[in-house]
C-alpha cells in the first residue's frame, strides 16, 4: 500500500499540566474526507494544528507525504504551503481586499506573476460564489462571505490537504449552509480534508470517515453511518445524543 498522505504516530501534546493530546495515531489516505468530533477541550483543534505544525508536539510524529514535520531538515514553510487551513474566526487579513487576501501568499510564497495570481483568485471567488466581492474588505463582508474568502485563500496555494477547524461555528445559522456547500463541493472534487465540525449534515454528505475524540484520545474511528446507527462506546453515545438534539 502507498504511503498515506497524513500519518500520525503516537502524538502527545502537553500545555504545561494540560494533556491536550495523549497518544494519537492516525492515517489519512489521499482524497479521504475525515470529520473529527468530540466535546470541548478534547484536543480536536490541537490535533489539527499539529498537522501543520502550528503547535509543536510534545512527543510523537506527524508525517505529511512521508515527510516528518519534526525533522530538523524539514522546511516547514514549504510543507505548510501544501496544507491549507481554515479557522473558526476566519482570520482574514483586514487591511487587504478579498482579492489581495487570496493573492498575497501566491505572490510571496509561490512567486506567481500578477496576472496568474489574480486569475486564480477570481476563479476561486467564482467557485465559492462571491465573484462580485473581489474588491471588498473583510469588514464589509458577512461572516459567511468572509469564511468563503478564507477557503479561497487557502485553496489558492493548491494545497494537497485542507484542514478545517470549526469553520461554521462562528456563523449565523443562515450562513452555515453557504459555507458547507463550498466544503461539500471541495470534498467531491477529491481533496483530502480533515474537518473539525459538528455539522452532521456535512458529515453525512461528504465524510468517508468519522473520528470521535475525548480527553486527548481517539475513542472511535468509523464511518458516519456506523457512528449514528451503532456507536461502539458509551461516551460517543452520550455525546451524540447531546449534539443531535
Amino acid at each position: 500500500m502507498s504511503e498515506p498522505i497524513i500519518r500520525i504516530t503516537d502524538l502527545y501534546k502537553y500545555f504545561g499540566e494540560v494533556q491536550a493530546l495523549r497518544g494519537i495515531s492516525l492515517e489519512v489516505e489521499s482524497g479521504q474526507v475525515v470529520v473529527v468530533i468530540g466535546p470541548s477541550g478534547s484536543g480536536k483543534s490541537t490535533l489539527l494544528r499539529c498537522i501543520n505544525h502550528l503547535e509543536k508536539p510534545t512527543g510523537g510524529h506527524v508525517y505529511v507525504e512521508g515527510v516528518d514535520l519534526e525533522a530538523k531538515e524539514t522546511n516547514i514553510n514549504k510543507m505548510r504551503a501544501e496544507i491549507g487551513m481554515v479557522f473558526q474566526q476566519f482570520n482574514l487579513f483586514p487591511h487587504l481586499t478579498a482579492l489581495e487576501n487570496i493573492t498575497l501568499a501566491q505572490r510571496v510564497v509561490r512567486k506567481r506573476p500578477k496576472e496568474e495570481r489574480e486569475q486564480v483568485a477570481r476563479q476561486l471567488l467564482e467557485r465559492v460564489g462571491i465573484p462580485e466581492k473581489a474588491d471588498a474588505y473583510p469588514g464589509q463582508l458577512s461572516g459567511g462571505q468572509q469564511q468563503r474568502v478564507a477557503i479561497a485563500r487557502a485553496l489558492a496555494m493548491n494545497p494537497k490537504i485542507m484542514l478545517f477547524d470549526e469553520p461554521t461555528s462562528a456563523l449565523d445559522p443562515e450562513m452555515i449552509k453557504e459555507v458547507l456547500e463550498v466544503m461539500i463541493d471541495l470534498a467531491k472534487s477529491g481533496m483530502t480534508m480533515v474537518c473539525v465540525t459538528h455539522e452532521m449534515g456535512f458529515a453525512r454528505a461528504a465524510a468517508h470517515r468519522l473520528i470521535f475524540m475525548d480527553q486527548g484520545q481517539i475513542v472511535e474511528d468509523t464511518t458516519p453511518e456506523d457512528l449514528y446507527d451503532n456507536p461502539q462506546q458509551e461516551r460517543t453515545r452520550l455525546f451524540l445524543s447531546k449534539i443531535l438534539h
Binding site: 501543520n52 505548510r80 491549507g84 487551513m85 482574514l92 487579513f93 483586514p94 487557502a154
Partner: protein, 280 residues
C-alpha cells in the same frame, strides 16, 4: 438638503441641550487662536518684541552663531531638529520594536537592554552626555573635527525617542490577534514575510495616533538641544536675552513661537490621523 432631512436634523439638534452644544464646540481652540493673533498683533507693533522675534526667526548676522551648522534660523532649526530626530526615532524605533517581539533571545535582550537604558536616563541628561562626552570623545578618537554639536543633538534626541517609539510599535504589534500570524504562517509564509505583509501593515496603522502624538512631544523636547548650543528657538531667545537683557520679550517670543508651531503640528497630525482612520 431636502425638507425632510432638514427637519429631522433640526429635531435631533433640538434635543441636545445648550450645554452639550457648547461642550462640543472647540472653544479652547478659539481662545488660543484669538490669544495668539492678539499677541502677534501686539508683538509686531512693539519694536522690542519685533526685535526679539526677528532675532530668533531671522538672525541678523549669520556667522557669529555658527557651530559648524548650516541652518541658522531659529524657527527652521527647531523644525529641522524635530523632523530629523523624529525620522531617526521612527526608523530605529521600528527596528527595536520588531526586535522586542522577536523570539530570538539575543535580539530580544539587546533591544530590551537598549529600551530600558534609554528610558532610564532623562532626555536632558542624555543630550548633555552625548554633546559633552560622546561628541568630544569621537572628535579626539577619530581626529575628525567636523562632527558637530548638532549631529550629537540629533542623535541624542533621536536615539532617546527611539526607545519610547519602540514600545509604541511593540504594543501595536502585540495588539494584532494571534490568528493573523497563524493564518499567514499556515499559508507557508515565513515569520519575516508574515511580519512584513500581514502584521506590520496592521500594527503601524494602529500606532499612527500615538506616534503622531510623539511628533508633537518631540517638537517641544527639541528645546532641550539648546543646552548643547544648537541655535533653535530657545537658544536664540537665550542669546537675545543675554545680549539685550530683555528677558521678557525674548522668552515671551520663544513661548509664542513654540505655541504656534505646536498648534500647527497638532492640526497636521489630526489631519493625518483622520486620513488613516478613513482608510482602514
Amino acid at each position: 438638503m431636502t425638507e425632510a432631512e432638514g427637519g429631522s436634523t433640526t429635531t435631533i439638534k433640538a434635543r441636545r441641550s445648550f450645554g452639550e452644544q457648547m461642550r462640543e464646540f472647540p472653544w479652547w481652540a478659539v481662545i488660543i487662536i484669538t490669544f495668539l493673533i492678539g499677541a502677534f498683533i501686539y508683538m509686531i507693533s512693539d519694536p522690542s518684541y519685533r526685535n526679539a522675534l526677528s532675532f530668533i526667526a531671522f538672525p541678523p548676522t549669520k556667522t557669529e552663531i555658527a557651530f559648524g551648522i548650516d541652518v541658522r534660523n531659529g524657527l527652521m532649526m527647531t523644525l529641522y531638529t524635530t523632523v530629523i530626530a523624529y525620522l531617526i526615532a521612527l526608523i530605529l524605533g521600528l527596528v527595536l520594536g520588531i526586535m522586542r517581539v522577536s523570539r530570538n533571545p539575543i535580539l530580544y535582550h539587546l533591544s530590551t537592554l537598549y529600551v530600558e537604558l534609554m528610558r532610564g536616563v532623562p532626555m536632558l541628561v542624555l543630550i548633555i552626555w552625548i554633546g559633552f562626552v560622546v561628541v568630544p570623545f569621537l572628535r579626539n578618537a577619530t581626529g575628525n573635527q567636523s562632527i558637530t554639536g548638532l549631529q550629537g543633538a540629533l542623535i541624542g534626541l533621536g536615539f532617546g525617542y527611539a526607545a519610547y517609539l519602540a514600545e509604541v510599535y511593540r504594543s501595536g504589534i502585540e495588539s494584532i490577534p494571534k490568528g493573523q500570524m497563524e493564518a499567514a504562517r499556515s499559508l507557508g509564509m515565513g515569520y519575516g514575510q508574515a511580519m512584513q505583509h500581514v502584521i506590520l501593515p496592521q500594527a503601524i496603522r494602529r500606532v499612527v495616533p500615538p506616534l503622531s502624538n510623539d511628533l508633537v512631544a518631540m517638537l517641544k523636547d527639541s528645546a532641550l538641544v539648546s543646552v548643547v548650543a544648537v541655535p533653535e528657538i530657545l537658544q536664540m531667545a537665550r542669546l537675545y536675552v543675554s545680549r539685550t537683557f530683555r528677558a521678557f520679550e525674548g522668552y515671551n517670543s520663544a513661548a509664542f513661537l513654540y505655541l504656534v508651531l505646536t498648534l500647527l503640528f497638532i492640526i497636521i497630525v489630526r489631519m493625518i490621523e483622520r486620513r488613516w482612520r478613513s482608510s482602514v
